[in-house]
């Protein structure tokens, strides 16, 4: 036996490694959501009792400089958001399909975020305001 081990190195079985890797890749591909990275540099507002949400198809973001993006594209005013939201939601019937995600920096002034909120509501959307949880529900 000692003679055998001197000549043959122990072999780690790696034949199934590729299968495991493929399974993991499929898992990560299914769970990935690249669109959510939009506006990743934002400092989100914090509040108590926030709920976990699924990501809607319509996304509006406002960065710390007050720059507004709609579906990843910069827009000049809230009026563009109202027309854009109305256009995207025109065939949507259920409440869930009318969700519009608003990612806004915590430091943004009301002169910037309030017209955007109004535009989403006037466009027929239900506001899904994203934030970070701080504690327990009241």
């Amino acid at each position: 036996m000692n003679r055998m081990s001197r000549h043959e190195l122990p072999v780690v079985p790696t034949a199934n490694l590729v299968d495991i890797a493929i399974l993991l890749i499929i898992f990560y591909m299914a769970c990935s959501n690249f669109v959510s990275q939009q506006g990743a540099a934002l400092k989100l507002p914090r509040a108590n009792g926030l709920e976990k949400l699924s990501e809607p198809l319509v996304l509006v973001a406002i960065d710390s400089q007050g720059a507004i993006t709609f579906q990843g594209r910069p827009v000049s005013s809230a009026a563009d958001i109202e027309s854009g939201v109305a256009e995207l939601l025109k065939d949507k019937t259920t409440d869930e399909m009318r969700h519009v995600m608003l990612r806004c920096d915590a430091a943004v002034s009301r002169r910037v975020f309030e017209p955007v909120l109004n535009a989403i509501v006037q466009g027929g959307g239900i506001v899904v305001a994203v934030g970070e949880k701080t504690g327990e529900q009241p």
Partner: protein, 140 residues
């Protein structure tokens, strides 16, 4: 007469798969680095649309006004804690329809953090947030 091609030696036509594992691991590392598995948290607020003139609110509709560093509820100055206590005491979760509506107005310089915190609290108390914002020639 058809002649069957001669059988080649086993393994001669095999697809080389030795580098497959390396490629798979590169892809795996890429997805691990770029994936965010945490779900977003926030509040869902179905704010009533329309202007004040079209949908007149009853006088009893509570109104919270944020201005600079002050909070006013029904024209009475109060701290955030007092406002939260008053809202909780209203038992909005037990009400229905328009009785659940709380108007959230802003004046002066208000940050989204303050607005969001108030909006989240109204939602958690079972209320429905209605925005009141300035518009040319009036409020919306």
């Amino acid at each position: 007469m058809y002649k069957f091609p001669k059988k080649k030696m086993l393994g001669q036509d095999a697809v080389p798969t030795t580098s497959l594992a390396d490629m798979m691991f590169l892809l795996l590392i890429f997805f691990i680095m770029t994936t965010t598995l945490t779900r977003v948290t926030g509040i869902v607020s179905d704010m009533p649309a329309g202007s004040k003139a079209q949908q007149p609110q009853s006088e009893k509709t509570p109104m919270i006004s944020l201005h600079d560093n002050k909070i006013t509820m029904n024209d009475k100055d109060m701290t955030r804690e007092e406002m939260e206590r008053t809202l909780k005491g209203m038992k909005l979760e037990q009400k229905s329809g328009n009785a659940k509506v709380v108007i959230l107005a802003t004046e002066g310089d208000v940050s989204y953090q303050d607005y969001y915190q108030t909006m989240a609290f109204i939602q958690n108390c079972g209320g429905i947030v209605a925005i009141e914002s300035e518009e040319e020639g009036g409020t919306k």
